[in-house]
């Protein structure tokens, strides 16, 4: 039995990390399965759907990509919207950097690929509890709780989805728009988001009717936020600024909110004391 208080603290924090990670893994299994199912119903081949989970590994962007492809959006537009949707990772990366400065560069490069909302939320909470970084803790959250469950569940969803003979009869086709709206609900953390969400939907539908669904989605996604910014910052009542643990928790699969999510330290000022 360890007598070193630092070891005891590490053990206790890792134990909590694993417990929180089990909740994340459970959600990743559920949503990875739904993603695989949706991708298959949208006409993705098994290899395409699984490659998306392994190579891109970004839940919301993957779900959105299914919709883009179904709507006939061109690849350049899909790539642009993916870049915008995933730009928040820049903030997580900057927030983790001070904790990871002693990790070899090659390993940081690998860490980056598995840096998701869930991995950030788990890691930053673990590091803060410890008051120092723990590389193994990062891997537990990023790989054990997220990457592996998400990819295995995608494979299961792909093969189950491919074996359902008449999916519309079972209402499977509604999973995609319902998942989109449900994910959006989790991201409405202030008045600006609410305005952006309503404007995005309104602009999207009107533009789709006047032109095509793909153009509608692009215009809704680009101009909805611009209208949201018309709400003055003082009246926005933002409760989860982008790049904070609270924000990561919102982007993480809904239903897995970790218990300690009240702090909202801006990214870049979140690291250990020098």
């Amino acid at each position: 039995m360890s007598t070193d208080p630092a070891d005891d603290a590490l053990t206790a924090s890792r134990r909590r990390l694993v417990v929180e990670g089990l909740g994340i893994a459970t959600a990743a299994i559920g949503f990875g399965f739904v993603y695989g199912l949706s991708a298959r119903q949208a006409g993705f081949s098994p290899i395409e759907a699984i490659a998306m989970s392994t190579i891109v590994f970004a839940g919301a962007a993957q779900f959105a990509a299914v919709g883009y492809v179904v709507s006939g959006l061109g690849w350049p537009a899909i790539v642009l919207l993916t870049a915008l949707l995933n730009a928040r990772h820049l903030l997580y990366s900057a927030a983790l950097a001070p904790w990871m400065r002693d990790v070899p560069r090659s390993r940081r490069a690998v860490m980056a690929h598995v840096l998701t909302d869930e991995a950030f939320a788990l890691a930053i909470a673990h590091f803060k509890r410890l008051g120092r970084p723990d590389e193994r803790g990062y891997w537990i959250g990023a790989i054990g709780a997220t990457f592996i469950p998400w990819n295995l569940a995608t494979i299961a969803g792909v093969y189950v989805g491919g074996s359902i003979p008449d999916p519309a009869r079972f209402g499977i086709d509604v999973i995609f728009p319902a998942a989109m709206i449900g994910l959006a609900v989790g991201l409405i953390t202030g008045r600006r988001e609410l305005v952006a969400a309503i404007a995005g939907a309104g602009i999207g539908v009107v533009a789709a009717l006047l032109t095509s669904p793909s153009v509608g989605i692009i215009l809704g996604g680009l101009f909805g936020p611009a209208l949201g910014l018309l709400v003055p910052a003082a009246e926005a009542h933002e409760i989860a600024p982008l790049g904070t643990p609270a924000s990561a928790d919102r982007y993480a699969m809904p239903g897995t909110h970790l218990s300690d999510r009240s702090d909202a330290t801006p990214a870049g000022r979140d690291g250990p004391e020098p």
Binding site: E48, L84, G171, A184, G243
Partner: protein
Amino acid sequence: MSTDLVWLAVLMFAVTYPTRALGLLTPSMERLPQRALDYLQLVGPAILTALAAVNVMVVTDDSGATSFHIGIEWVAVLACMVVTAWRHNLLYGLAVAVVIVAGARALGIAAMPV
């Protein structure tokens, strides 16, 4: 078996990975301007609701013409939204949406999608 979308996945990776790696590999990176952060904060809700709304409200016929669609999918998506906001769990919302659509189609009060 088609593999075309694997290349799309590679392109999506090409724009996603740098956002994940930049901070970790170049810790001295300057932060984004506040206005850009404010915009990015709103991209997620706008894109996701645009996708959902266009998916349930707009249909395209064989000639490529679009038209406004009203159907059971509206009810299902709204129910999902309410349940997710209430229970803070999207899986519950998805289950309700699927049951509504499957039930309405089984009872013959909603048409199958075209």
